[in-house]
Subunit: 206 residues, 2 copies
């Protein structure tokens, strides 16, 4: 299966997929869309993902799958990156839904506001509340990691990939990681996994 | 297995679990916590779910599972409510992540602000932006349902349960459903499923 990944290089949501595909040694076609210029809101792209967001994965037959964590689950099925045991699988999902609901809007979104919007943009007013909630999400992660090496089952999984993507650049969202030693140790463990790639490593396969 | 469900009756996230448990004819213990009085932020409850949120499902051995859509996936495994085919399963997850990221904060949260906070609460300032995004999420759903009876595979699944929970009370969030005829027809199909229960039906089993 040759996949096509529609993505934006600086997106942590897209990076989750690039990281897993690299670790699966799965080649793919990479198509970059500039989310800051509305390239995900064209009629052509909305036909692939009506919600107009990257990452979106396209199959050879033209079918598409959206939502970064759903794509991770699809690609990880039957591999070492997703447990087979029923409760462990659900715990992986628990951390992925935590990521999308409690973490991403409060870590990724402030980073986007600080990185991609002008310094006088009205959305900067959202930063204090989002950052406060971001620190709360990091505190929940710190608690989980204080007695564990990885989020689920003492094994690196897509739950770790999902949470690593924006946590490792949390300081770019104005969120200091110094108060979270268990998170910092886990970030180092994730970065040391075989075939790790970095956020801005442009995929070789185009 | 006798489950204990920690929940708040007016929560659509909790309602998802109550609806699926009813349709699975699975008895359970029901423990209500008042989220408006901080009852999910006690040390006792934070030991069950460090993120301090309902719904949380407890197993007989004391293990807990949080995040409504992860709980749905756990309970639906091996039943007619979750497809077995790999891409269809991922599409169910796609719609559940859509629900938590693009829909819930913009349908459930404005409903909470309008229903559970005083009329002069400062969070009312969030309503216009959240409602605008809520209408965008409803438009995405309308597009999907304009050519389909259910979200995935022409069959009622936990993707429908996840999206029904707050969509059927969207008008309580100030979001009119009149412009969305495909959504209204789908709401009627979901409500006509065998063993359907309503949001405020208090579980018989305590």
């Amino acid at each position: 299966m040759m996949y096509t990944l529609y993505d934006f290089l600086d997106s942590g949501n897209g990076y989750k997929i690039r990281l897993l595909l690299a670790q699966l040694q799965q080649p793919y076609r990479y198509v970059e869309l500039d989310i800051t210029r509305g390239e995900t809101r064209t009629p052509q792209f909305l036909a692939k993902n009506p919600n107009g967001r990257i990452p979106t994965l396209e199959f050879e037959d033209g079918q598409c799958l959206a939502e970064s964590d759903a794509i991770l689950c699809y690609l990880a099925e039957g591999t070492a990156f997703l447990p087979t045991e029923r409760l462990a699988r659900a715990q992986v999902l628990q951390w992925m839904f935590f990521e999308q609901y409690s973490h991403e809007p409060n870590v990724a979104t402030p980073r986007f506001i600080m990185h991609h919007l002008p310094a006088d943009h009205p959305r900067r007013a959202e930063l204090p509340q989002r950052q406060e909630r971001g620190r709360a999400a990091l505190a929940v992660m710190e608690g989980q990691l204080s007695t564990r090496s990885y989020f689920v089952g003492e094994r690196y999984s897509i739950a770790d990939i999902a949470l690593y993507a924006y946590t490792h650049v949390a300081e770019e969202a104005g969120l200091e990681l110094a108060p979270f030693p268990a998170i910092r140790a886990w970030l180092a463990r994730v970065a040391a996994q075989p075939r790790h790639v970095r956020l801005l490593d442009r995929p070789a396969s185009r």
